[in-house]
Symmetry: C2
């Protein structure tokens, strides 16, 4: 059997990345680890997140993965270099792909980032964008309420619209033309974010989804010969805690029912 691709996230949000990878490479086998017992990472210190990321990576290595995707923006921001130094396989985060897609999308060179407080504080998107193109102006804002809104399923309507407007106003004030969704939960709110941004700015805004951008990156990471071909691959899900509302939340992020999926609760 072809070696699987390993993916981890602090929780279930990274299933949006698994979904994008599965869509782009349908024959690949995926092993997804959601550290649901310790979610969220976004409010924790860098040292704690690095420790958790190493534990997740080590568990996935036991599945003989050929590539590791860090599908968590917070962990990508603070732990990617450490993981790349420790592991013998390619390790890809969601920030560099999101940053590149943002640069590609912008016409004015003014890019907004919406992310968790932890990702914003890490400055990871600014660094990633400036490492590619120094001239870009980057404006990052925390939008912490988007995570519980996505998990609640409150993705359209008054409350998410008001929250979106409140978070987007500072980005509208500096006249960005592109907004990178720097948290795997946020794509569920992308329609509301898109509409609020266009209203506040008075013109259309490109919304960049890091999950899709990361999936697109994998084709260059995997040598042509190592991309699996054939029948649809499997998706195995490991979680460190199995909360009551697991099914509904997971299927929201995955975009399909989780019934019949291969799901195991593990200890880390």
């Amino acid at each position: 059997m072809a070696k699987p691709i390993g993916i981890f996230d602090s929780g279930l949000g990274g299933l949006t990345v698994a979904r994008a990878i599965s869509g782009a490479f349908p024959a690949e086998n995926l092993v997804y680890l959601g550290d649901t017992a310790r979610v969220p990472y976004g409010t924790r210190s860098a040292g704690t997140v690095v420790k958790y990321a190493i534990a997740c990576a080590e568990r996935l290595l036991s599945f003989d993965i050929k590539l590791l995707v860090v599908a968590c923006n917070t962990a990508s921001g603070v732990a990617l270099a450490e993981l790349q130094a420790r592991l013998d396989i390619p390790v890809v985060g969601v920030i560099q792909p999101g940053a590149r897609a943002g640069i590609k999308a912008t016409r004015t060179g003014r890019i907004g980032i919406l992310a968790t407080a932890g990702t914003v504080a890490s400055g990871a998107y600014e660094r990633a964008i400036h490492s590619e193109s120094e001239a870009m102006k980057v404006f990052a804002r925390a939008a912490p309420l988007f995570v519980p809104l996505a998990e609640e399923g409150w993705v359209t309507g008054e409350v998410p619209e008001l929250a979106a407007r409140r978070y987007l106003q500072p980005l509208a004030d500096v006249d960005v033309d592109t907004i990178v969704l720097g948290c795997t939960h946020y794509p569920l709110l992308s329609e509301t974010i898109h509409r609020a941004a266009a209203e506040l700015l008075g013109h259309d805004v490109a919304i960049v989804d890091s999950a899709a951008a990361t999936a697109a990156t994998l084709s260059t990471m995997l040598a042509g010969s190592s991309i699996a071909a054939g029948p649809p691959g499997s998706l195995q899900i490991l979680v460190t805690d199995l909360p009551g509302q697991f099914g509904s939340a997971a299927s929201r992020f995955l975009g399909k029912p989780v019934d019949g999926l291969d799901i195991h609760a593990i200890d880390l």
Copy 2:
């Protein structure tokens, strides 16, 4: 020195309980443990919460505490009996005091509970209320967005008001006259909750704060002679992670600046 009172919570919300205890018993020394590395407990399984609660209690026992307050509704709901069985000192949760205060406040016998999904699923408030008074009608609803709203400091204004109305509508539909705030974060939103409830119901509603109710209970738990007297007691804060925004969040819950407080990061 008098033995301290130990208090733990999944995070910083329990500081509202520490504040209430300190107000009622100013000479007591308090040791507060906030498990900020593993917050929130409300979305985790019962087994995981019991494991975490035991770890917190064991750490506090090393301070030779005379009484343990479980200032976390989720842990009170699923781990109190286990802690009481294991420990030789009195252990008090926030649910029984909140339940009793709700019974005392209601005139119609129709009590609403607002809490995290975990606390609601545990059925702990229903059990606590019915163990005192079988005739009471109890209606519990999860209000998960209140936690990030309190942490963001969005406690008044449009977004919390809309969220409050959405969460309170089912309680208004069943015509409660009393609402118990079954999560230590919610007292920060009590003004907004009070107003929204009164508007939806068309009459005033009693809002019961479990933190204040728990502090009031301690006088009966501590024998008269073991209540500390004398100069103001100390407050020592232990946290399992020290996030960047610790100061502003902690002072919001504590109701005063945290500068000059005795704060240590520990591993559990």
